[in-house]
């Protein structure tokens, strides 16, 4: 699980990834070559196919099982999205409170960072006991807690990273604290918030799926994967992983899209000169 806790929008990241077709060409080339190699090696060398099936087989299995897989995927996806929304909402609220009352924020920040170091997923059995092992609420709860800390820390950093001159400018307009919040701190924090939210989508998906490893409903994707792997039906397991990956990428993409809309003014979105 990767939690990018303290990084503002990496403008150079866009440049690293490249914009435009020509920039994406190497990546696409590698994708095509990679898939072809995978297929070729598995067929040609008859590599332990039960462990790592060829892409074509995975796709075929996916197609055959698509009904179960898609419904399991959506079930888990709902858990992930639910946890994401709850966790992020709380995180933003807490960040706003801590930014408004700085002494409290400064005192608690190191603890929030330490709390982020706790393997929260290990608490999945507890939420199973609280909400019932079959209930989606138990996985939503874990996902929410996992999402909370990175989003909170990132948002808080954003709210407090305003330059002193900006605040002085506002004071020269005799602005009240809540004006400063509304007009300066909140807009400044948006890039940081979205960085946190993008990370949170990945965390929420993983939280929901892995939460199932401690027990969950038959309808969930994680249980499907565990079951398939348990009976050595690895092509089914890979097909389920394929579904999980697609959903994960879609989730991330949705938030990234929202970011482009909300941050339409940001240089990294407009491709400004840097």
């Amino acid at each position: 699980m990767s939690t990018t806790v303290v990084q503002p929008v990496p403008r150079s990241f866009g440049r690293m990834m490249g914009r435009g077709a020509r920039d994406w060409a190497p990546a696409i080339a590698i994708f095509v070559v990679g898939i072809a190699l995978w297929e070729g090696l598995v067929r040609g060398l008859d590599v332990q196919r039960f462990l790592l099936p060829a892409p074509s087989e995975i796709l075929r299995t996916f197609w055959d099982e698509r009904d179960t897989l898609v419904s399991a995927g959506l079930f888990t996806f709902k858990e992930a999205v639910g946890g994401f929304l709850i966790g992020s909402a709380f995180a933003v609220l807490v960040a706003l409170v801590l930014a408004r009352w700085r002494p409290l924020g400064n005192a608690l920040m190191p603890y929030a960072i330490a709390a982020n170091a706790v393997p929260i997923i290990a608490f999945a059995p507890i939420t199973n006991n609280w909400f019932g092992i079959l209930s989606p609420a138990s996985k939503m709860a874990i996902a929410a807690v996992i999402v909370f800390f990175p989003v909170m820390v990132n948002t808080l950093r954003g709210l407090t990273s305003v330059r002193p001159e900006s605040v002085e400018l506002m004071r020269s307009y005799a602005a009240r604290e809540r004006d400063i919040f509304r007009r300066v701190r909140i807009p400044t924090s948006l890039p940081y918030l979205f960085t946190g939210l993008k990370v949170a989508t990945v965390l929420a998906m993983i939280g929901a799926i892995v939460g199932d490893y401690f027990g969950g409903s038959q309808e969930a994707l994680g249980i499907q994967i565990r079951r398939s792997a348990g009976i050595f039906a690895f092509d089914e397991a890979w097909a389920a992983i394929f579904v999980a990956s697609v959903l994960g990428i879609a989730f991330y993409g949705a938030v990234a899209l929202a970011e482009r809309v909300v941050l339409s003014w940001h240089p990294s979105v407009r491709g400004g000169r840097e």
């Binding site: 990018t4 790592l52 290990a122 507890i126 909400f131």
Partner: protein, 274 residues
Amino acid sequence: MLRRGLVFVAVLAGLWALWEAYRAFGVAVSLTWPFEVNGRTMPHIHDMIGQLFEPSRRNGPLLIEVLGKAALFTAKEAAVGFALGAGVGFLIAVALVHSTLLQRGFLPYIVASQTIPILAIAPMVVVWLGGRGLPGWFSVSVIAAYLTFFPVAINALRGLQSADPRAHELMNSYAASRWTVLWKLRVPASLPYLFAAFKIAATACVVGAIIGELPASIQDGLGGAILNFNQYYASSPESLWATNIIAALLGIAFFLVIVLAEKLVVRRAPEHFV
């Protein structure tokens, strides 16, 4: 220094109080939403801690002894995973920093690799490595390494690229070789970024180790302990909570080791800057 200690005590006391207050309130009004509050779902914190000093089973060693051994076992898996993942991540970053083409080609996959729920592949990793005669715990380390390599690779890449262009020009004026530039300029410049990644990775590899133990059916670590005490939750909820507390402390301990290392290393680093 004293103030920091007082804040620490105050925060812990505050959390303790919140727990007990919610519990008392929930029991008094028979709260059932969001979850039912009773002695089983919310044991007293002092009971959880007290349980550590009870025998883990009849005539057996104290729980804290059992958990301590389990924690050390998991810690070993996590540490090996960290070293592997950090090493590989760093090497990948070094390779990528010297070629924009490689960057453009591979970066999207490095990013996408994080959306694959590694823990889903865990069973296959275990079978594959087991087939090669490697011990079960090593598979767990491999899983932990997978979770570590991404933040390290991404941050190391940014860090290696972060040196001032003028510092590079200075190096060129000395006709320095790429190797020299790497070790005398890029690496020292990347240290802050590396440590940011290490902090994330420290948590990730502990999580990876605990979760990885599940499909590997390893009894000796914390993952196994959690599953074990989960089965006895009805009779002894405090044991599971105590296990979770130990797991949380392990995560925090790993994190603190990195923080300490950073204080030591980065203090010396300025001497090494060109």
